[in-house]
Amino acid sequence: MVSLAIFGIENNSILAVTALLTGIALVALAMLIAKLIGPRSFNPQKGEAYECGIPTRGNSMTRFSVGYYLYAILFLMFDVEAIFLFPWAVRVRDLGSAGLISIAVFLGFLILGLAYAWRKGALSWK
């Protein structure tokens, strides 16, 4: 009842590349138009960083709080887990209670990991 892809194109990679090129073309076209019709004036003050009005001090491409890295590492762990969960989720109807037990063990380990990180204080922002 639900019908086929658009124009009956079987190879979806072509369509994905089309969408990607459309996105790139949108930015490139708009940039071209803006460069053609936009005004241009030179002023040394305009090129300064937009901060507080006084000349900026130091470089901003510098080290930053380690808290962000901790969340990035935790994210990595759970995101990889999500990739493992997807194929299981598609088949869960056929697997029945065996699928439930196996995934409960898997998720149990993950929740233990989260509990460990929580206990160690990785989840509280400092």
Binding site: V2, F7, L26, A34, G47, A49, E51, S60, D79, W125
Partner: protein, 364 residues
């Protein structure tokens, strides 16, 4: 039900009657590209107008009402204004990454946009892992935001980009787990498959309690994913000027603005796909006459209607809740939403195994 593959098939046959096969595919791809471009920009213009009107209504104002009837042409005028603004070239930026960031943000949202089901046979990218592809490409957007903040070489943009990065990767987990819950319920990852599985009853009604929990978590995480509402601290204007896009001017800034509104539509569109049946009309099992009447309303109207209604809810959040702090934001995700989501997944499997749910059309 109106089947758009008849129309596209007719165009395909027409083109194939006088063109070489490779030229037919090329022409069709150009047609699809132009269609995507039009839909993308028109929706963004509509959303800017919509948000301003809703915001005005919440604050007892009128909103834009001078340009065109009811101010409908206001966002088109704004688009022209932003196109003729100067693109300021800055001294201390990393020129290459600075120019690359808008491409990443727009390309990511365009790829995700192309996966959405607009109607029967009116869907551009139809992978059998459709919803997984959508999550994968929409997470490229965070790279663009991080690059924009880093390459601007400005303290405000750096802080804004880091907050945004931490927030978006954290809430992506909740989105992913909510999607996994619904994929387990539907038994397929393909977008038309998920829509077809809801042809008797939408998942929010047939999915028992776990579907409702997944929906609530999805809406909270989706709001955070679009940097909106109570979670807009990456661009908290009272602390960080404009967050990660402070240094962008003219249309360069416009791209981030555009992608932000389109991401709002994509989040609402995915919510309507997973929980409200995508383009599938409202069907109540047993009410044959009612279902037949609903079938006369075309799919695109259903899909856009649901997506706009859900984005209204997300805009409503913004004008209701005060902004969170970064520690509250991360605690909400890691200490509440993530554990609830993991238990909700197990609950969903219990519902599936013991057959407590409503009618789901099985995927062959």
């Amino acid at each position: 039900m109106l089947d758009f593959s008849n129309i596209t098939g007719w165009i395909h046959d027409l083109l194939a009657s006088f063109m070489a096969p490779w030229l037919v595919v090329l022409t069709e791809c150009v047609l699809i590209g132009v269609g995507l471009l039009l839909a993308y920009s028109l929706l963004a213009l509509f959303y800017i107008y919509f948000e301003r009107k809703v915001c005005a209504a919440f604050q007892c104002r009128l909103g834009p009402n001078r340009v065109g009837p009811f101010g409908l042409l206001q966002s088109i005028a704004d688009m022209f204004k932003i196109l003729i603004k100067e693109l300021i070239s800055l001294k201390h930026t990393d020129k290459f990454l600075f120019a690359l960031a808008p491409y990443l943000v727009i390309a990511a949202s365009m790829l995700a946009f192309a996966v959405l089901p607009w109607g029967n046979g009116l869907q551009v990218i139809d992978f059998n892992i459709g919803i997984f592809f959508l999550i994968a490409v929409s997470s490229i957007g965070v790279l663009g935001i991080l690059l924009a903040g880093w390459s601007s070489n400005n303290k405000f943009t750096l802080i804004g980009a880091l907050r945004s990065g931490a927030q978006m990767v954290s809430y992506e987990l909740s989105i992913g787990l909510s999607v996994i819950t619904m994929v387990a319920f539907a038994g397929t990852m393909s977008v038309p498959g998920i829509v077809a599985a809801q042809s008797e009853c939408w998942f929010i009604f047939s999915g028992h309690i776990p579907a409702i929990i997944a929906f609530i978590i999805y809406m909270i995480a989706g709001t955070a994913e679009t940097n909106r509402g109570p979670f807009d601290l990456p661009e908290a204007e009272s602390e960080l000027t404009a967050g990660y896009h402070t240094e962008y001017s003219g249309i360069h800034f416009g791209f981030f603005y555009l992608a932000e509104y389109l991401n709002l539509f994509i989040v609402a569109g995915v919510a309507s796909l997973l929980f409200f049946g995508g383009w599938m009309p409202l069907h109540i099992p047993g009410w044959e006459g009612f279902n037949d009447v609903m079938n006369y309303i075309p799919g695109p109207i259903w899909f856009i209607g649901k997506a706009v209604a859900l984005s209204f809810v997300i805009i409503w959040f913004k004008w209701t809740f005060p902004r969170l702090r970064i520690d509250q934001l991360l605690a909400l995700e890691w200490k509440y939403l993530l554990p609830i989501n993991l238990f909700n997944l197990i609950l969903m499997v219990l519902v599936i195994v013991y057959g407590l749910h409503g009618p789901v059309v099985p995927v062959q």
